[in-house]
């Protein structure tokens, strides 16, 4: 794949086996360029979430090509672990290998949003939660306040600072999560099912917010219409392997490829429908 800019994320031959023995990723390689928005699609259990958890070092897989001899062996059992020090680490973010020494810098640059907003909103108030990242990055209080206000404005919840997470609707919770990630001003957003369980209005609001983000994005989702709208490029992941990687319309429009991996050609591509117009006003709180 030709990329216009230097890669922000580079993954090479990433393999990961869960402690239970299940092989979740087999030799995954991909790159994401600056300002690129990449869709990550695939059936349930394909390894999408596992891949996202690797991007900021929450999981640490090994660097092994898919068909390397001995791959099915359990890394823990064979003592094969990621070599700390650079050259054998399967993931690089902004040129930095994802190793424990780089975790602070990497976690500041890679913002991960999880599926269940209740897992991510762990502070007593919306303000504390959005401030959590910047405070841990040890920014001065004034800078933290500025970032909180800015992030909440970006998601259309400017006057929600005092609210408590359990009083929010699901859509509002999801937006606060996004604000918490945006407050760290990451260069790459890794979003796990950002539109799941949202009503159409909240989903539309979220899509508009993502469109207005400057960061590169990797979006794992079953919401293929959203992928068509947001992403120029799509990666199909199945059985822990990358099955296809290319321009969105070519990949999602390929009926046999979609069928092979438990997906469907989105209706907008099937019927050649135009994309919804971009909202001119910022999304309002719902």
């Amino acid at each position: 794949m030709p990329h216009s800019a230097a890669p922000i994320l580079k993954v090479e031959h990433l393999s990961y086996r869960y402690p239970t023995g299940q092989l979740a990723l087999r030799g995954v390689s991909l790159t994401v360029g600056l300002n690129e928005i990449v869709g990550l699609v695939g059936p349930n259990g394909a390894g999408k979430t596992t891949l996202l958890l690797h991007l900021n070092g929450l999981l640490t897989g090994t660097r092994e090509p898919a068909h390397a001899p001995g791959l099915p062996a359990n890394p823990a059992a064979t003592g094969r672990q990621t070599t700390v020090g650079g050259h054998n680490v399967p993931i690089e973010v902004l040129g930095m290998p994802v190793t424990p020494a780089n975790f602070p810098e990497i976690r500041r640059n890679v913002g991960v949003m999880f599926q269940d907003p209740d897992d991510q909103l762990f502070c007593p108030t919306v303000r504390d939660d959005v401030a959590f990242g910047p405070l841990n990055l040890e920014f001065p209080r004034n800078e933290v306040r500025r970032r909180v206000a800015e992030a909440l404005t970006a998601v259309g919840l400017a006057d929600y600072e005092e609210r408590r997470p359990h009083e929010l609707s699901f859509g509002e919770k999801r937006r606060v999560c996004l604000a918490g990630v945006l407050a760290c001003e990451p260069s790459l957003l890794a979003l796990d099912e950002p539109s799941s369980n949202l009503d159409p209005r909240s989903r539309r609001g979220l899509i508009e917010i993502l469109k207005s983000c400057r960061a590169a994005q990797i979006i794992a989702s079953h919401d293929l219409e959203m992928i068509v709208e947001l992403c120029q490029r799509v990666i199909v992941l199945d059985h822990g392997q990358i099955q296809a990687d290319g321009p969105t319309r070519d990949i999602l429009g390929n009926a046999s490829l979609m069928a092979r991996h438990g997906l469907e050609v989105p209706l907008s591509i099937q019927y050649g429908l135009p994309l919804p117009p971009t909202a001119s006003s910022p999304p309002s709180a719902t």
């Binding site: 976690r107 007593p124 990242g133 841990n136 209080r141 918490g180």
Partner: protein, 215 residues
């Protein structure tokens, strides 16, 4: 919601509600300490402290019925403990000790009830934090407060799902069995959730110190 009882009255507007949280915490601790440390024979003073706590509760507009219901949950536990004193004498004395145990516990209980009924929990935690309570306890309480609601919701959903598949009136034994399974599942789900929360915290740069913007 099932946990609304926790904060039913803490958002009020009375005189007590407007006092600064730190002053209320110190006052409550003083009342509890005095009430517990007074010698046995000073029990009328302990009684006065209980009265004082009740006055505080009435100034804060907390209904008597609510206080009564809280006490009804609390007193049986204390009575069991208090009975240990006479029990150790073969029920031949020490009844005064038992009575004082009940009285002291009631003082502490009423004072604490006054504190939590006049202070929203976030304010209370911020106050404790500023009074120098170790960060780790503050973090624990913050998480407890946040996830109590989530866990109660989860429990309510699981109960509904269980009821939806319960077709007839069950024997007590079977319903108890169902409840134990529910509690077990809740524990497992809570553990899994804890792992996900930890991952979310690590993602946003957690370094072991809970910071709140306001302190």
């Amino acid at each position: 919601m099932a946990v609304e009882f926790l904060e039913r009255y803490s958002q009020g507007q009375s005189l007590c509600h407007r006092w600064p949280a730190r002053a209320k915490i110190v006052l409550t601790l003083l009342v509890i300490a005095t009430g517990t440390l007074l010698p046995l024979e000073y029990w009328p003073a302990s009684g006065c402290l209980a009265g004082l706590a009740l006055v505080g509760l009435s100034v804060a507009d907390i209904p008597l019925g609510y206080i009564g219901r809280r006490l009804a949950l609390f007193l049986p536990l204390v009575l069991m403990t208090a009975l240990a004193a006479p029990l150790s004498r073969g029920f031949m004395g020490a009844w005064d000790t038992a009575a004082v145990i009940v009285l002291r516990s009631t003082v502490a209980f009423l004072a604490a009830l006054w504190l939590v009924s006049t202070t929203p929990l976030e304010t209370l935690l911020a106050g404790l934090c500023r009074l120098g309570m170790p960060r780790v306890f503050v973090s624990l309480l913050i998480f407890t407060l946040r996830y109590l609601y989530v866990l109660f919701d989860e429990l309510a959903r699981m109960k509904t799902a269980q009821r939806a598949r319960t077709f007839q009136r069950q024997s007590t034994w079977r319903s108890w069995l169902g409840t134990t399974q529910l509690v077990g599942m809740l524990l497992i789900r809570a553990l899994n959730r804890a792992e996900r929360i930890h991952a979310a915290m690590m993602s946003r740069g957690w370094r072991g110190r809970m910071e709140l913007l306001d302190d």
